[in-house]
Symmetry: C2
Subunit: 229 residues, 2 copies
DNA sequence: ATTACTAGCCAACGAGTAT
DNA sequence: TATACTCGTTGGCTAGTAA
């Protein structure tokens, strides 16, 4: 089934505008783009482009700031995430890229994953849904910039839902997991379900991966994501 | 720049309909999908879904046939190509998948590529735009079904345009080329610009690849497509 | 049950224009 | 030059209904 609907409600023109803005994007910098320029790019009038920009800003998909009498514009995290999720959906539907590889650098103390593998309700779900009784700790990988788009794309996929739960004091959010292999050892990458992008990949496994593979901070590791999820 | 506009003009709902049809697709078979089913999938009324189906059929993106009192529906080649091109565009914009690998089986007599490398105007363009003075013959690879989506995705990308030309007797069409490597030897894959999908990859190179690598029909070859294009 | 026409409505367009 | 308002128009929606 297509996962239509759990996504920002964006019109055709707004979608094209997001693509155009993304295409002329320069990292985190605001780029100058007048409403008539945008209008030309997506074949609508200056007035419509202006309205579209206002709408996208209201929905939090882009941000703007005054630059002289024109405006600078850039995608927000959620605007970028929208495009990645669109891409992930097409890739799902079309069956492209079922296998993905990501490289990361072993690092300490980056994530909150340790947290997840120490809470019983999560552990039960990991066991049932992933077939992994997790070692009580995660392997944290820092993802270098050249793999950012691959990681974002992965994270935009559906993955396996690990349900959150409520405890006495607070609530624990849903987690999204992706099965993967690290040197033939079955693992899973886990992400908080609702989270902004971070250049970190947290890996859980039945084994203590650091020890098993004699990994040190700074070592490069290849994670292979297999077929569906 | 985004390549908006050289594409079928498809509304938001039509686009969603194409995705929904593609998602429940079963190869070349027509699948049963009533207009109300489609309406539910893409959150429009049965009436709108009906109109959308009629419109998509008129634009040649889907085909339908009567099945009892309901209809069977399937994407046409050009409907599928549309989704792939959408995906390729997003992938371009987002910088995902700049490197792609495709496996193929060495085969004889599959393509018309030999044709291209024997016509002087093409040869001049290959030399100028690809830096390859092509050996007068192509290596033909048959692409197995599990690599089909990768090949389609590649073919949907922009590539390097090799202009066609007119001769006394007939006209020769544009060609789309993608630089690639075969065991570190610089090559290019070439496709007729306007063509339906075929499970064939035609490789040109300065070298006679068959001889250089002692390739026989049936041998498996890995082609690596590097960075942009 | 289907598909798809017609009617009526409304969101979103372009044009004109103020700032 | 910009941005973005108002206004008149219209493409595309839903609802009703014929076949």
């Amino acid at each position: 089934m297509v996962s239509l609907g759990n996504k920002a409600n964006v019109s055709h023109d707004e979608y094209n505008a997001l693509k155009a803005i993304c295409a002329s994007r320069n990292g985190d910098n605001f780029i100058r783009m007048s409403s008539s320029e945008l209008g030309n790019l997506i074949s609508v009038s200056q007035q419509a482009a202006s309205r579209i920009l206002i709408g996208l800003e209201k929905s939090g998909l882009i941000e703007r700031k005054a630059m002289g009498r024109s405006h600078g514009v850039n995608l927000t995290e959620s605007g970028l995430a929208f495009l990645y999720s669109e891409m992930a959906e097409l890739s799902n539907i079309l069956g492209v890229n079922e296998d993905t590889t990501i490289k990361g650098i072993v690092s300490s103390g980056l994530g909150e994953g340790r947290y997840y593998v120490s809470k019983k309700p999560y552990v039960i779900e990991f066991t049932e849904k992933l077939g992994i009784v997790p070692y009580p700790g995660t392997l944290n990988l820092k993802i270098p910039p050249e793999w950012e788009s691959t990681l974002r794309m992965l994270q935009a996929r559906e993955g396996i839902l690990i349900n959150g739960f409520e405890s006495d004091d607070r609530s624990y959010g849903d987690v999204k997991a992706f099965k993967c292999l690290l040197k033939d050892t079955p693992c899973a990458a886990i992400f908080p379900y609702r989270s902004v992008y971070r250049d970190v990949l947290e890996i859980i496994s039945q084994d203590f991966l650091r020890e098993k593979f004699h990994l040190q901070d700074g070592d490069e590791v290849v994670v292979h994501f297999t077929s569906k999820n």
